[in-house]
């Protein structure tokens, strides 16, 4: 990307001033190297977001930002409740896609002796890949209860523990969900997908803590070097995809009638104060609950698999974060507390120390920010910072971001060779699709370490620990 259009406010903060139709500037948080490697489309898309009505302060892009649709992936934008909009494109198709990490109380050496059996058991228990189905079938009334209750509903049905809820964003239930706003098609698409992982970049990994950067916060989070954790990356499955699809079309058609001139159709949005905007918020929040319930059921299945292989293990939840959402939050803007609707598209919420939303045991440390990497390079746990609250409405990066297309990845690598190479490094991959493995090859992703280093240096979130995979179940 051409860096000459930016004013460099600090080492990791690049500002493109408002011009033309932009109502606010674009601010990108990244190192010079990441900026140089970033696609020029990121600035173009972030500038389009900056032109939407009611946007507040700036259109932000995180260090892992890449070319998305409408919003850049890694985009953050907040809107005024009266003047602003909510955008189905700004949340995306995989509503409330996110990561949850479970502690295990186990050490790496405990896993190594049963690693293959654990991999096989998890693979047998966790429905993964195209066309896989869960065991659960919901009646219409149960579907409504799930869409209203989220993880809370799942725990009530025996999937997990009460204690899990306090360690989930929104305490496991997104308020304001409106099941009536969820179409029959969306419900049908979810019919047999509860408790499924999906495919693409979704995964379940058993990981060990390879490196600790902040021992005090790591202790608050209950992790130390050599510990084993389990991370689950997936979203709201077919229900969320269908809601995204339907509202994108409805908003694209209605935008013109509402007098919103879209710079890009994919930015389809509706005024927050309109009936369509409110209906979307109700449906999107129901999809957030679907994602929370889905990850809660997968947690239950994971615990059952561990019980078979390592009966002594208990798997409490460290935390659950979502990275495709629009949430109503209160932030300080120019010295004034304001209620805002914050879109995070491929960006993780990262609330700093003392935030009321955090469980008491994390109030001092800040929110755990769970960053997924690729199969071979590892993942990170970060902590929210007070500076991040000011810099991007309490947001940070969400992952490595792809470095090349799926087609290019399959041209370069064979799935079998990747599985064998990772096995030789002590990482066992289980997947129904070797082509899927090739498309998700470690080198098809950017260097996640550079991304989290930039997030840390930019003051968005603090590095706490680096995780390396031992087992990867890939859809």
């Amino acid at each position: 990307m051409d860096l000459s259009v930016f004013e460099r406010r600090s080492d990791h903060e690049w500002v493109s001033p408002a011009r033309g139709r932009m109502r606010v500037p674009v601010v990108i948080y990244a190192s010079r190297e990441l900026m140089q490697a970033m696609d020029a489309k990121v600035l173009e898309q972030a500038a389009n977001v900056a032109a939407l009505p009611g946007i507040v302060q700036a259109s932000y892009a995180m260090p892992d930002a890449h070319w998305g649709y409408g919003f850049p992936i890694g985009g953050v934008a907040a809107f005024d409740p009266d003047e602003g909009v909510v955008s189905a494109g700004g949340v995306g198709f995989d509503i409330s896609c996110g990561v949850r990490t479970l502690l295990t109380g186990l050490r790496r050496e405990d896993i190594v002796r049963v690693q293959a059996r654990l991999a096989d058991t998890l693979y047998a228990r966790i429905p993964a890949g195209v066309g896989s189905t869960g065991e659960l079938r919901l009646s219409a009334a149960e579907m409504d209860a799930m869409l209203k209750g989220g993880a809370h509903w799942a725990v009530g049905r025996g999937y997990g523990d009460e204690a899990d809820l306090a360690r989930t964003e929104e305490r496991g239930t997104m308020r304001g969900a409106d099941p009536k706003a969820v179409s029959e098609q969306a419900r049908k698409r979810q019919r047999d997908e509860m408790g499924t992982l999906g495919s693409g970049n979704h995964y379940l990994e058993v990981q060990h803590v390879a490196e600790v950067f902040d021992a005090r916060i790591a202790a608050d989070y209950g992790i130390a070097a050599g510990d084993v954790v389990v991370s689950i990356h997936c979203g709201s499955r077919g229900l969320g995809h269908q809601i995204g699809t339907e509202f994108l079309k409805e908003m694209a058609i209605a935008a013109r009638a509402a007098g919103i001139d879209l710079p890009d159709r994919e930015l389809a949005c509706a005024p927050l104060a309109s009936a369509l905007g409110r209906r979307y918020l109700g449906a999107m929040r129901a999809a957030i609950n679907c994602a929370l319930a889905n990850r809660q059921i997968l947690t239950h299945l994971t615990r059952a698999a561990f019980r078979e292989v390592l009966p002594e293990a208990r798997l409490p939840l460290l935390y659950d974060v979502s990275h495709n959402t629009c949430k109503e939050e209160t932030h300080e803007v120019a010295g004034r507390r304001r209620r805002l609707f914050v879109h995070r598209k491929g960006a993780t919420r990262a609330f700093g120390p003392g935030h009321a939303e955090l469980p008491p045991e994390f109030r001092e440390a800040g929110q755990p920010v769970l960053i997924g990497g690729s199969m071979g390079t590892g993942s990170y746990i970060l902590a929210g910072l007070a500076t991040g609250m000011e810099r991007a409405f309490g947001s940070a990066c969400h992952g490595a971001g792809r470095a090349m297309s799926r087609h290019e990845a399959t041209r370069r690598w064979q799935g079998r060779a990747i599985v064998d190479e990772l096995a030789s490094r002590g990482i066992l991959v289980r997947s129904p699709s070797l082509r899927g493995v090739a498309e998700e090859a470690p080198l098809a992703y950017k260097d996640v370490s550079a991304v989290v280093d930039a997030a840390d240096a930019a003051g968005l979130a603090r590095k706490v620990a680096r995780l390396e995979p031992l087992v990867c179940v890939k859809g």
Partner: protein, 139 residues
């Protein structure tokens, strides 16, 4: 005039493009490109037909609707499709899609598709008179 499909590059996802002598043919070819994101269309047998209908205020939205209808049918019927017959008139599309249930061993599906996006969305007549239909799909 060539009838063909292809994929095009998108940083995070993948673009599907259909080309043909008519708008209908371009839509049919793009549907093959959609199947090819998931599995090799050559491995999919056109065993039974599913009827699809959608409508939209313009060609571009209609194209996106067509792909989204296929994505919906694939997801809810657990099927893959390999042959298509599209009819378009008055902002309305009617089609038959032939395929078979997903068989993981036979089709080796790589990835499911979440939705067809408006990114790089384009339906137009090319200077040689043929038609192009394309967009990025989210996987």
């Amino acid at each position: 005039m060539a009838v063909r499909w292809e994929h095009f590059r998108h940083e995070a996802d993948i673009g599907v493009r259909g080309l043909g002598p008519t708008r209908e043919a371009a839509f049919e070819q793009a549907a093959l490109a959609l199947t090819a994101v998931i599995a090799d269309p050559e491995r999919v047998a056109p065993q039974r037909a599913v009827r699809i209908a959608c409508s939209a205020p313009d060609d571009a939205l209609l194209f996106c609707d067509w792909l989204n209808a296929l994505i919906y049918e694939m997801a809810t019927r657990h099927m893959l499709f390999a042959r298509f017959e599209v009819r378009i008139g008055d902002g309305r599309l009617d089609a038959d899609a032939w395929g078979e249930p997903v068989d993981v061993r036979k089709h080796r599906p790589a990835v499911e598709i979440k939705g067809a996006t408006y990114a790089e969305l384009d339906v137009r007549r090319l200077p040689d008179g043929s038609w192009l239909a394309q967009c990025v799909v989210d996987v």
